[in-house]
């Protein structure tokens, strides 16, 4: 106030002091975030750190583990289990491509051709989700049973000869071969492909097809030049949503495969829950996580889609 008395008298009626901007609800977002984020930090992020630390520990169950920065565990795990890693990528990759090939027509059908059946088909795509996926996976044991109608048909059509030559099946069997595992993976993660594909297809203005047709594009050209490029966001998120869980899956390899089809998920599970070799299991899990994050990042960069969430 003392400075005010020294100041020269104002010439005009003084304008009111500008008020400081009110900080209405400045802390509100943090309060809203706190419980959920804390949950994720403690039960998602912190475990990752624990796991990283476990992977460089040595010791035994009886004597306890100590951090010894024993990075050799990584090397040992990789050299012992690289076939499982390769299989994971191969099986998950094949399943993803199959999901795209199978899922696209269905998503297209729902988006553009289903008419009044649209909702019903949608329900039929989602409804299997509500039956335990383990029960549904076990059903494939019946479907692909040795000497069953499916295997018989594949045999008659000489499909099995081709897959045998590719190393996907052995002899007249489908069960307990890579083909069965890929088939199960494809089945299990197909809805994760169909839903994002459908979402991005449905956003496409139907008049674009007419415009393309009007501009002398045949149906196939219309698809290649208009529909497919516009559905790219769906393709990208669909392939990611399929590939990521498929690469870490061990249920299909266990139920439908054999010891020759074990994937990295099976190894992690066995090391953790049966062998109790925690450092190796943690290292494997860490490698899987890093590999997938790396692939996802590169893939998103390349396809230029960032709006996945």
């Amino acid at each position: 106030m003392s400075t005010l008395t020294e100041a020269p008298p104002p010439l005009a009626p003084q304008a009111p002091e500008p008020k400081p901007p009110k900080r209405r609800g400045r802390w509100t977002p943090y309060w809203l975030l706190l419980p959920g984020i804390l949950w994720l930090v403690v039960f998602f992020a912190l475990p990752m750190i624990y796991q990283a630390s476990t992977s460089v520990q040595t010791g035994s169950l009886e004597e306890g583990y100590k951090v010894t920065w024993h990075f050799a565990t990584y090397w040992d795990a990789l050299s012992a289990y690289w076939p499982q890693f390769v299989r994971s990528v191969l099986y998950a990759g094949t399943a993803t491509i199959l999901c795209l090939l199978l899922g696209y027509p269905l998503a297209y059908l729902i988006a553009f051709r289903a008419g009044r059946w649209k909702n019903l088909i949608m329900i039929l795509v989602i409804a299997p989700f509500f039956t335990s996926f383990l029960i549904r996976t076990l059903a494939w044991k019946t479907i692909l049973a040795d000497g069953g109608p499916v295997v018989g048909a594949l045999n008659t059509l000489h499909v099995l000869d081709v897959t045998d030559w590719l190393g996907m099946t052995a002899g007249d069997r489908v069960l307990a071969t890579p083909l069965a595992v890929v088939c199960g993976l494809t089945y299990n993660f197909l809805p994760f492909m169909i839903l994002p594909l459908y979402t991005s297809l449905e956003r496409i203005d139907g008049r674009l097809h007419e415009a393309a047709g009007d501009l002398y594009a045949r149906p196939w050209t219309t698809f290649r030049k208009v529909t497919f490029p516009l559905s790219m966001p769906g393709v990208v998120s669909g392939t990611l949503l399929t590939f990521i869980p498929a690469a870490g899956d061990y249920v299909n390899a266990d139920l439908l495969g054999s010891t020759d089809t074990r994937m990295v998920g099976n190894v992690i599970q066995t090391q953790f829950l049966r062998v109790l070799d925690y450092p190796t299991a943690a290292a494997l899990s860490f490698i899987l996580m890093a590999a997938i994050l790396l692939m996802v990042t590169l893939y998103i960069r390349r396809s230029g889609t960032e709006d996945l969430v």
Binding site: T28, L33, G36, W39, I244, A247, D249, G265
Partner: protein
Amino acid sequence: MPFVNWLKRNLVVLAGLLTLGYLLLPNVVVTVFSFNKPKGRFNYEWQQFSLDAWKDPCGVSGLCGSLSLSLQIAVWATLGATLLGTLIAFALVRYRFRARGAVNSLIFLPMAMPEVVMAASLLTLFLNMGAQLGFWTILIAHIMFCLSFVVTAVKARVMSMDPKLEEAARDLYAGPFQTFVRVTLPIAAPGIAAGALLAFALSFDDFIITNFNAGSTVTFPMFVWGSAQRGTPVQINVIGTTMFVVAVLFVLVSMLAGNRRNRQKA
């Protein structure tokens, strides 16, 4: 060649329907085999028609116990994840704050992480803390991985909501609390419901994360997994069929009710 032309035009429809068949075939098999009377311990080959399993769905020891445990966990996990997730979604859409990017990544990462990695690392944490594995560890894990899905579902709904609606409410004498209860919440409700439904389905059906963190507690998916090694009782198919039918009916009824409501109002 009218047939070839017809085929050309409807190729995509045929391919789509084939995929739909591929998706539904296992459910058909599950249903059919719920009426089977298998020889031996495994229910993979058709023997003869029987209603035995339908008459006594709880006839296998541990089955219905695991089912009710899974339902309990799913209900609590849904409540927890929906509450926490809705709060996060509102914070993300409605406020500007520091560390927004970090929060977004923390939401996105659990969805981009293979389940086995989350399962293994969470087990490491529990082992390090010396936690007793069981109901609570399962619940903690389920809330953790359902949370992100709820956030995504609610966020989409809140984002598509016109902020003018809340301004209108404030303009019409509704204070902050009234605005939230009378306008924001009812309009966000479908998104919250979708998130909750998703959380319920995910939790109820989760196997991998549960298997790592359950200790000796047995949920329904774990019961199925165990029976795949020891012998699959027909009752599993009964439960599976019931779940499928209930889910389809639930969706159909709610859709029909929605249609009728719209027609009446129109």
